[in-house]
Symmetry: C2
């Protein structure tokens, strides 16, 4: 198209660089085009570079100007990595313009030293990927860049190998059937199932990686370095900073694992789909309407997520005060919605918006998706089309209580069970038509968001519902108790209640999600930062395990998980392996970052997690408990 | 690098497409590479395409596979337009894979028909840009695409011209000196100056475009079509929907115009810098920590913006209720910060975070930047370095009150003046050291956020501060008054107060920003949806102008602007030209969208605006008032 002439400008930046490469090659023809001419000076070039990446970038791809296919591949890679593509002057000379562009693309230090800021790349020089062999870009250039303090990695020299390397980075293949041996087809309820035990055995024929476990870290869009202090610790303090991260930056609750894909919802406004084996990004959505705080619900090749936030407008603050706490609140500041995506491609299929937040996870049951909202309603949608089936008024707003499902073995009636705040109660709704089946307020003196914060647990076999809530708040010293109780799932009748102890009132998510396994209820309390095992029949405490380094925000919100004869817990900065019979610690591991309401998800030899630092992680179980024996189906 | 062989896959998508083009060209060599092979089937190709743009795209760039430079340019263009690059099979055949990719890239209809969703591309087929001449991509292909319902535009055929067209799209040049004749060097205060009259005469020597005015529309990242109904109208209603857009989607207040650049802050989390002449994007920031609701403050080649939101956590709701409205609130749900950027390049220079929101605009004065926060403090920073100079407690939280500046002509002491809520008052702080100079609570029965919502206006020449606030709320029928009052700027003493009438309490920003010109105070009231002119000396109402189609959210929040003997107002869905002496309507225009707290910014013959729909707009004044005569300096 353009005749190749001598290139005055060889090192130019980013997506722009390609325009400018072309500009360089066509510079004679452009001489009389004033507008283009303005862009041709080295100064203007630098400005354009900076304008495209005004705050710097983490990644630069370096290509030879004579290598068209390499540039094409480089573009793909640079775009995927949100980086810039630069051209060397020739195989042996980096070139001044490129050197200047590299300097301009370094991420500036913009905050007081030692602080970490949310939604802000860490300061430093970009990582450089060199595309092509040493005839295209010499080793001397790489050595020169390394001497200047850049990290440099050459991506292969051989054509086909280079292509496959880039493809693997840019568009990794969906998991192959043999790599999904231990994974489920669907993820219908928060923490997978009614009992919240998100652990899955793999068959003996499963591939080796599923048996020994894999290790990878995936940085989501707002990722904070895993060893960094909490962002804005100076203003928010040790009590507030982790809460802000959990609610407004990273992942609030755990991941979902379906068909070899790890789905993670982030408060950075994106849903991510990763290859469970490699951690490679398969797709991510565009910016959704609000924070995402559930684990994705997956059914029939669709993935359902809800977007919502924890806030109240000032009108609700006033209304509540003027009514002396008696008026019905609507929780949710920004837009909120449920989205349905194709589980393999991420293509959006339908969406519905709500009045009030939609923070908790939906429930999928029998072709219907149920969503409880901060506007105080339970909605039922046709899972395939998004058509509204009905909505039911819950007589309270839902904060973070993900609904659960129970089917009465006598009447075969299925109910959707959910906790609400203001009024605080647990309510069961007929899944078929939205009629209220029962409401249980308990005799407890519930404080704050109480029951509406927490997701009830269902034991289908024993016809039980377990829920816990903060009670008996003392506003003088800001202490509270956490109470846990069991209800008859068919009637709501309270069967037992147990006091899990008193402590400082937690700043957010004031409860622990419980998990039921083999007649034992396992639950954490952020009030006491302790894990408890209770006899499911009578609520008697069997053992306790105090969590270390919980900090003033408290820890123990995510449900424990039982697998391979071990109880696994993610709490505060660590994951723990406990003896399920005694609570004795078998091992622990600090993978970096901190867990909010996160439950581990275990498939074979791997634990999958995400965290408040906006990372998704895979950790081999043996890293946490070297003595564990992975059991097969 | 790779030998060209026959291409099996010719039409492939996006950044991926280039990988795949290369893949195609190197397909023989890849045959024994299992991982790459998986990606080679047409099915896998389609999956990758969809995974890169899982929700479709607005734009596709079409290139010839044999045109390397065109592909490079196309990549730059596609990336800038957040679109995909596709390759035709050859000059005369689109190719099946490309056709399928085009279909997959169409934005799906995901919501109930007739509704518009925030942060969601409108459904439909992408716009196609064809790069290259008819030898590269034939007119028959374009005709075929048009017949299928695609909008198609060929971008030139000539090399240099094509390059300059793409460069103009991708990285337009900064405004040239001759094009900045009427523009200021700095923008130190909300709505430009202490009196809030953001209108600027141009010299007689100014270029023609500045005299006759320009017209353009720039769609920001969350832009909703300008003729669409409010997003989520079904849930939010006519009263709530425009408020949500103003606070959580688009531009809350007006733009800043400096050195030929229009700066706009958006609730979509980005700051934009546009060429004032063309509307071309010069740069935009990455995702910042929160909504941006001020107009950017520009001084000494730096631009200062604050990120914050309107929300309260539940803990604040409870605290306020338990204290029966007496406790001190902290406003702000998510992270909040002030950012300093290089005004020409967008490169971040420094950042500081706050406890509580930072919604209002900062003030720049004499090398210092001042920020008032929802945490109830006024902060002073070294403008160049971001170093904290001091912070002062305001005895109330700031909602959306952008501080203003006044210098006492006798003492030469400069004060920063700001309104706060709970407690409601206006406070003057010594700009030099943060000491409180005076606090004025007035005798008014202020309701709700009252004074802390609104930005006080300063008449330096007459030593006056004007502020208005909602008062005398009746909770039975939800009505209120708007009162406006004048204070001695040196002492805070109230000189007069005028009742601007009673009406329904506005849902948000419960006041109008006033503007002072030539002894007259101009102000709107969202309580009565009326514009008022008052005698500045005694507060007597001179005339009133009722705003049409204000809707139940009310209108008139943005300050009027005086220029060319005309009073200009942006209110509800329209801009108006009024006779400043009588309030008589001289003309009006509905540019699409709706204005929140937006003031017009007038430079020569052009009015610059942004709106709740997330658009920045330039409108020739003559479009609004055909009889206007542009006056020169």
């Amino acid at each position: 198209m353009l005749k190749k002439t001598s290139m005055m400008i060889v090192g130019v930046v980013g997506m722009m660089s390609l325009g400018l490469m072309a500009l360089g090659t066509g510079s004679r023809a452009l001489a009389d085009n004033q507008k283009a001419q303005e862009g041709l000076t080295a100064k203007a070039t630098g400005q354009m570079a900076i304008r495209l990446f005004p705050s710097g970038t983490k990644t630069v791809v370096l290509c030879s100007p004579s290598d068209s296919e390499g540039i094409a591949l480089g573009q793909a890679l640079a775009t995927k990595l949100s980086g810039a593509l630069l051209l060397v002057q020739n195989a042996h000379v980096l070139g001044q313009a490129t050197a200047e562009a590299l300097a301009a693309l370094s991420v500036p230090e913009v905050a007081p030293a030692g602080t970490v800021q949310p939604f802000q790349l860490p300061p430093g020089k970009p990582m450089i990927y060199v595309l092509g062999n040493s005839q295209q870009i010499s080793s001397a250039i790489i050595a020169e860049l390394k001497a200047q303090g850049y990290q440099v990695q050459r991506l292969a020299g051989q054509g086909a190998h280079l292509v496959s390397e880039v493809i693997a980075q840019v568009a990794p293949a969906l998991p192959l059937k043999p790599d999904t041996a231990g994974f489920l087809q669907n993820w219908p309820v928060y923490a997978y199932g009614p009992s919240h035990n998100s652990a899955f055995k793999i068959p003996k024929s499963a591939p080796q990686w599923e048996k020994v476990g894999v290790r990878w870290n995936f940085a989501e869009d707002a990722a904070v370095p895993l060893n960094a202090p909490f962002p804005d610790l100076a203003n928010l303090g040790e009590r507030g900073a982790p809460v802000k991260m959990t609610q407004n930056l990273g992942n609030a609750v755990g991941v979902s694992a379906v068909n070899g894909i790890i789905y993670a919802e982030s408060d950075d406004y994106h849903l991510y789909a990763l290859n469970a084996k490699t951690g490679a990004l398969l797709w991510q959505t565009g910016q959704l309407a609000n924070n995402l705080m559930g684990n994705p619900i997956v059914a029939d090749n669709m993935v359902y997520v809800t977007a919502g936030d924890t806030g109240f407008p000032f009108s609700q603050v006033l209304k509540y005060e003027l009514s002396q706490g008696t008026s019905t609140l609507v929780r949710g500041l920004m837009y909120s919605a449920i989205y349905a995506f194709n589980a393999k491609t991420g293509r959006m299929v339908w969406r519905q918006d709500f009045h009030g937040n939609a923070m908790p996870s939906p429930v999928y049951y029998n072709g219907t998706v149920y969503v409880a909202t901060g506007g105080g309603h339970l909605w039922a949608f046709n899972a395939l089309t998004g058509t509204v089936k009905w909505q039911a008024a819950l007589q309270g707003f839902d904060s973070m209580s993900s609904p659960n499902v129970y089917t009465n073995p006598v009447t075969h009636q299925t109910e959707i069970v959910v906790g609400t705040s203001d009024q605080n109660h647990v309510v069961a709704v007929n899944a078929a038509n939205g009629s209220i089946l029962w409401t249980q307020k308990t005799a407890l003196n519930i404080f704050n968001t109480g029951m509406g914060d927490n997701s009830p647990t269902v034991d289908q076999a024993r016809n039980l519902i377990i829920q816990d809530s903060v009670v008996n708040f003392n506003k003088a010293n800001h202490t509270t108790n956490l109470a846990i109780y069991a209800m008859n799932a068919a009637t709501g009748q309270v069967l037992w209640a147990t006091d899990l102890g008193r402590g400082n009132a937690p700043p957010a998510y004031k409860a622990g999600v419980s998990m039921i396994h083999n007649g034992v209820v396992y639950v954490g309390s952020p009030v006491t930062s302790t894990i408890y095992a209770l006899n499911e029949a009578n609520g008697k405490i069997l053992w306790t395990f105090p969590i270390k380094n919980a900090g003033p925000a408290g820890a123990g919100r995510g449900n424990p998980v039982y697998a391979d004869g071990v109880l696994w817990v993610a709490a505060g900065p660590k994951v723990y392996a406990l003896n399920p019979q005694t609570g004795q610690e078998l091992g622990s591991y600090a993978p970096g970052g901190r867990f909010g309401i996160v439950n581990p998800v275990i498939v074979g030899g791997t634990m999958y997690l995400d965290n408040s630092y906006d990372w998704v992680q895979a950790i081999p179980l043996k890293t946490i408990d070297p003595a564990v024996t992975i059991r097969y189906e």
